[in-house]
Amino acid sequence: MKKTFSQSMAWLHTWSGLIFGWILFAIFLTGSLSVFDREISQWMQPESAASQVPATTAVDRAADYLRNNHPDAPSWLIVPPSDRSATMLAYWQEGQEFPHVALDPATGKVAKRDTDGGHFFVHFHYQLHAGTIGTWIVGGVGLMMLIGLLSGIVIHKRIFKDFFTFRPRAGAQRSWLDAHNALGVLTLPFLLMITFSGLAIFAFMYLPSPVKLLYGDSLEDSEEFFHEARPHVDLEPTDQSAALLPLGGFVERTQQAFGTEQIWYISVDHPGDENAVVSLEPLYGEQLTLSNQLIQFRGITGELLQKGMPFQPATHTQRVLTGLHFAQFGGAVTHWLYFISGLVGTAMIATGLLLFSVKRRRQIVLDSDVSTGFLNVVDRLNVAAIAGPILACLAYLWANRLLPPGLAERPAWEIGAFFAVWALSLIHALWRPARRAWLEQFTAAALLSLLLPLLNMLTSSQHLLVTLPAGRWRLAAVDLTVLALGLACVWLLRRLGMERQRTAVSGSAAPVWELADS
């Protein structure tokens, strides 16, 4: 393609970074938010925030709800309340899909403010709200992220020499490049890990050839593969109906078996059948590997079917990768480190996108061959790809507080607000000059984030004035993080304003992107 390998990689890095960066920014942003999915869910359901029901009782109430509403579903799954979330989630199977609702453990009814909560961010970051097709798209984009990281390493050349280098006053292109390099290099282990482990979770779907070859093409064949890789008990339904034992008892037995309070989930296969199977996993707070502590019972008799599950090396590796990606371990410290690293990755993608146009704006001055029309499109899409998802996430939280609690199809409305605002951001970016679009959209983001805690005070009883004195940090942290985002936006806007004044005084007609120089 180009003369040397490193030049080819530079070309690949630049162009694939631009095209895929537009969507990667949103994926990394929502992925970082996913770390705190339960805290966000909790924040989005303030009415249920105070209820404190033990998991055993809560699970029984969720089972009642599922029995009344979805008695014929082939399987149920319940995520009980934990110290991170007072509400619980109830899933039921419909074909290949698993719809769910959030339940209030105190009443066993659908939580007053029905919402997908932080779960939406989890789903969006691997499906883009587009089902299986979305998973394939994210897979392709994730692969390009991996390639972006690897080609970035190839073209950097001076990783160790420039390890600590950041020169904010060395001109726009230099300082954006420094920032891009610094953010990328310092979180490189994290970025490689999170990208590859994300792909590894769905490896079975992306590359089905080994299983097709060794096991066969049918659904049963792939089930057989999962069975061998992760031994667990599957019983065929008998069509003899029988009454399921109370699920709370299984929770208690699991807590005793593993000496832990927290249960990750409890699932029931063929709930109304004689061969019902109840499976549970504890929350893995102290290990990376996921799913090696599966415990299974017969749902009707309570007989223990299986406890624990030793993995073989390769499967173990895959489960460790999954565990590293899910970040269920280690508590608040690891969650914050993941969140910060994720946001740094997000910022690295944003600086890369900006760098593309900064670099080419300069070339326009030197060489008239570069097309201004194309760069204008890039600049506008950059606004929609960077400011857009930030605004959309904020709109999602605003919609949660503004929509009436009893609204039918409430989760769909909230998600609608997310996409509507993102679309508005795109339209606005296309309509306004790019510089104005940056200013206006970041002003909007600053306002939305600074006012959100106020809105929270007006619309719920779980606001900062309550949560801070009570020391309820998990809830307060949501408000405080949004406030911090608002302050960051204000800081960015002030810098933009300061730079504009400076160029106005000196009278130089520097390209607007240089103004973004921080």
Binding site: M1, M9, A200, L207, P210, L213, Q312, A314, T317, Q318
Partner: protein
């Protein structure tokens, strides 16, 4: 004169469009050729690896992802798009033969 300028314009466009075609071909090679290599390489690995079959399958899938990434990077550094296609297809064919021929013969 007008025809001349039109012709020269056309001539000017020619290498441009050939460039675009070659680039499109390269992207297609990375996307589809790369996937074919990863798909069949994973299948071949699954057969070759001396492991329990579930273990071989998992290892092959994880390595297959890396093969895909490497293939895409290589395509963009290859001499020409045609060369990239040729090499990818040969590797994919060899891997497919390693993976599927033993089953077909026995």
């Amino acid at each position: 004169m007008p025809t001349d300028s039109l012709l020269s314009r056309f001539m000017h466009l020619m290498p441009q469009s050939r460039h675009v075609m070659s680039l499109a071909s390269r992207i297609a090679a990375a996307l589809f050729g790369g996937y074919a290599v990863a798909y069949f390489a994973a299948a071949a690995l699954a057969v070759i690896l001396p492991l329990v079959r579930s273990e071989a399958a998992v290892t092959a899938m994880l390595l297959g992802l890396l093969v895909y990434a490497a293939a895409v990077m290589w395509v963009f550094s290859a001499r020409s798009a045609a060369h990239a296609w040729l090499v990818l297809l040969i590797i994919a064919a060899v891997c497919a033969a390693v993976a599927y021929l033993p089953g077909m013969l026995s």
